[in-house]
Symmetry: C2
Subunit: 204 residues, 2 copies
């Protein structure tokens, strides 16, 4: 059966929330998960020409409150952070390198870096932040440190984000399974419906 | 028990989809529904500074396909329309007038005007379109016609949209109940959770 493409960006609290659920959802339906990086700075700002959600009037304040409700419903921790210039660029460059060198650890790292920011409120922006998190996970940070700043890493990430955009992916989390693209943590119920039934017919 | 504030704009297919469900959801939980008009042209474009969804890269094409999946899941008709300059201004001015003159028919009209556009693909933009729909519902169109173009009708609608924005409402559909604001047809499950439990604790 096809894997579930799971598009994440650690910058998104909704992506973090979905990251705590996606493995369980997939496993219950006998699917694997392919973690795929997305840069919301590219899709939302450059491709779509919108503002980041936190800086969008009305939607920013809504989201600030809403993410805590969802975390309660999900039964997972979620804290505010006071990071001033949040960036996921280093984290996602590290992710694509780990995919190459220690692929089995890539999803583990992805979940850990999301949780670092949203469950513990720690910064993920600098290379030092990213390497500190990687070091907790038996990732070879001496190899990772030079690799994540290489032109090759930058190219790999850029290519993956371009590929996502070419498939129509724009938000986080997004789920792509059997050609069906679903956007939003609030669509997990639709993902479950598709995985159970393979169509959009109403439940009997 | 507090009513459910249901924010709609007939211009939104997601609002139409929610309009086919909200009464049933409310009834099952012993709540009433207050239909409240919103103008997405005001909130999305003027207040939030965003583009309308159909004109937003990636999100436009996603939504064009997505609404049909949801309609299938909901078991309701949904068709594309070829209306060039779609506007809900006349429809919502009529709505606030009907609220004054025949309040019991206001939600009936709201549902009918949403269905006119999304279930049947007919235009709702002109006063003639709106009055044609109203005439099917035993609404006094001879009284409505002059009233919906009055300064009083324009002021009433403007005030209601301003009130919504002051409460933080920005999208359609939105549900406001017991101080909890939920945005999106894909949040009906959260609305049901709140109505059943009155908190955001996970299901036992």
């Amino acid at each position: 059966m096809n894997p579930i493409g799971f598009y994440f960006d650690p910058i998104s609290p909704y992506g973090y929330l979905a990251s705590t659920r996606i493995d369980d959802v997939a496993q219950r339906h006998g699917r694997s998960v392919e973690w795929r990086p997305l840069l919301l700075g590219v899709t939302v700002e450059r491709v779509m020409g919108l503002k980041p959600v936190p800086q969008t009037p009305l939607k920013g304040p809504y989201s600030k409150k809403d993410k805590h409700r969802l975390a309660r419903l999900f039964g997972v921790p979620l804290v505010e952070n006071d990071v001033k210039e949040l960036s996921s660029l280093n984290a996602l460059r590290a992710f694509v390198c780990i995919e190459q060198s220690q692929p089995q650890l890539a999803p583990v790292f992805a979940k850990a870096i999301c949780a670092r920011l949203w469950a513990r409120g720690q910064d993920i922006s600098s290379a030092a932040d990213v390497l500190e998190e990687a070091a907790r996970l038996a990732i070879d940070v001496d190899a990772l440190a030079p690799m994540m700043n290489s032109p090759a890493a930058k190219d790999m990430l850029r290519q993956k984000v371009d590929d996502a955009v070419a498939l129509g992916v724009f938000g986080v989390p997004s789920f792509l399974v059997d050609g069906e693209l679903l956007w939003g943590v609030d669509r997990l119920w639709m993902l479950e419906h598709w995985l159970a039934k393979g169509n959009w017919n109403p439940k009997a």
